[in-house]
Subunit: 306 residues, 2 copies
């Protein structure tokens, strides 16, 4: 096999009470990538469409992640990477993670699978380190594994796959504003009250239970973030109004996707998800901010070959 | 039915990463209680054997919990409560919770079950409030429900029952020293680092997953408390040495039971649990501190009628 075309999905990380440890993979939003072996012993970004991103191999997350993989197995195989970028960078739905995860997934296949998908997470995290200064796993893990990924531990890295309730749907609103990742990180307090932390882990434990038992109502009650959302949400226009609106219209829960500005609503079933999508669209249409809206089921496979 | 004899089990709360939210119920350690209706419109503690505890109805957790229940349904039915106290007060394995939970369980039965067992938790918590100044639920909930109880939220109170892996065993060491609950609480920092909190909720999420999947190794890896154990363990003699000892001998995990001084080791199967119990016994036998050792499976029923 000399080349591979893949779909690299968007993801929602920092899922409410699962800040920094829980993410899920989307079905209907993602990039397409074409990865080819070359004879140059060099990893190159040969084409990017859709967005303006660095072509230099040391500055693009995809090539950086691939190099981390090749270094691990002391391979000097070269690769050309083409990215048709459909996820907007800075949207908060794992744009860099899709590129990193997609690239290492394809390269691993083209090399005869020296690694399994879980092993690939740490290489893809090198892309995240480049993109945000923080090698977090809660976007790249669900991008590679599909479904819900829980990062039990970063050192050593241990990621669990959690079950996906069948009727779960995600509505994503991406207000087209820029929030600098640096700003978004800098406003988070590095110390939190024990009381809030206890609420948070009580909710996360319940959320995990809800995924195993397909208890949608419990899932909704657990989707609270006592710690990061209260500070980060001030950067997101109409956050509180949207929260009230989608809750009133039957969404299970609402929160910030990644570090924003995208927000997500989890819904049960297509009918409710469409309703929630419509009310968000109506609400935002007379605001001064352009936006994109997505409706997706949970992608159980992660990156896939096209 | 005029009287009821019950077994009120001991419990392990503050289960490592589940500080304040996760507890489990023991099988082989507990009190016996006899609760009888009386015609005096009065709740009385008529007999306590085994330990020296207050007989005054306003100072005993069992009668305080029962009064909270009766008040809720505006009942003036009187009860006599006899307690054969086998769990030592201040041991850290839910001594007060057993009395509170046992009393409300029996009274509820004698009144024709106006409440289900989950409803009883909030009444039993009034006993905990009296005993420790803090109406925590992670002892009384597993005492009433059996198995593992997760407190998702205190306000409003929501408690989940989690599955019990069949081969799980608990070894409890109770060093016969006194740690004042006040001291044990006062050394806990009221602010924690976000980094530690993230580790904690990653581990708790994984622990819940391990209970659903019966993954004993994952259960063991998740049993870490980054926040409370590091400070509280200094009050417990030989904590670090015990941790190393039981880990070396195959225990899944080790931690402080409740607010101590008891410590617990979770083990897989009777053979390993007996081994761990024996090495603890040997280690502690030449120390200057008297101790008690228990080995128990997880009690799935909670309080039961004798």
């Amino acid at each position: 096999m000399e080349e591979l075309k893949i779909f690299a999905p968007a993801t929602v990380a920092n899922l409410s009470c699962g800040f920094d440890v829980l993410g899920c993979c989307l079905d209907s939003v993602g990039d397409e990538m074409l990865i080819k072996k070359n004879d140059l012993k060099e990893v190159r970004i040969t084409r990017i469409t859709g967005q303006d991103l660095p072509m230099e191999a040391d500055k693009n997350v995809a090539s950086v992640a691939v190099k981390a993989l090749l270094e691990q197995i002391k391979s000097d195989q070269g690769f050309d990477i083409e990215i048709d970028k459909k996820i907007k960078p800075g949207s908060g739905i794992g744009s860099s993670a899709a590129s990193s995860a997609g690239a290492v997934f394809a390269v691993n296949k083209l090399l005869g699978e020296p690694f399994n998908n879980k092993d690939l997470i740490s290489f893809a995290m090198q892309g995240e380190l480049l993109a945000s200064g923080n090698a977090h796993a809660d976007n790249v893990a669900p991008a590679l594994l599909g479904g819900f990924s829980l990062v039990r531990s970063y050192c050593p890295l241990e990621v669990l796959s959690l079950p996906v309730p069948e009727e779960l749907r995600v509505v994503i609103l991406h207000p087209l504003i820029e929030i600098k990742t640096k700003d978004s990180r800098s406003i988070i307090k590095q110390n939190v009250s024990l009381k809030s932390a206890i609420n948070q882990w009580g909710n996360l434990g319940a959320l995990v239970s809800a995924l195993y038992t397909e208890d949608y109502d419990l899932l909704g009650r657990s989707l609270h973030d006592d710690i990061v959302e209260p500070v980060r949400s001030i950067l997101i226009p109409y956050f509180k109004e949207l929260d009230e609106l989608v809750t009133k219209n039957g969404a299970l829960g609402f929160g910030i996707s990644g570090s924003g500005p995208s927000v997500f609503a989890l819904c049960r079933g297509d009918e409710n998800a469409n309703k929630v999508k419509n009310v968000i669209s109506e609400f935002y249409s007379d605001k001064e901010i352009d936006f994109e809206l997505h409706l997706s089921s949970i992608n159980k496979k992660g990156v896939k070959i096209l």
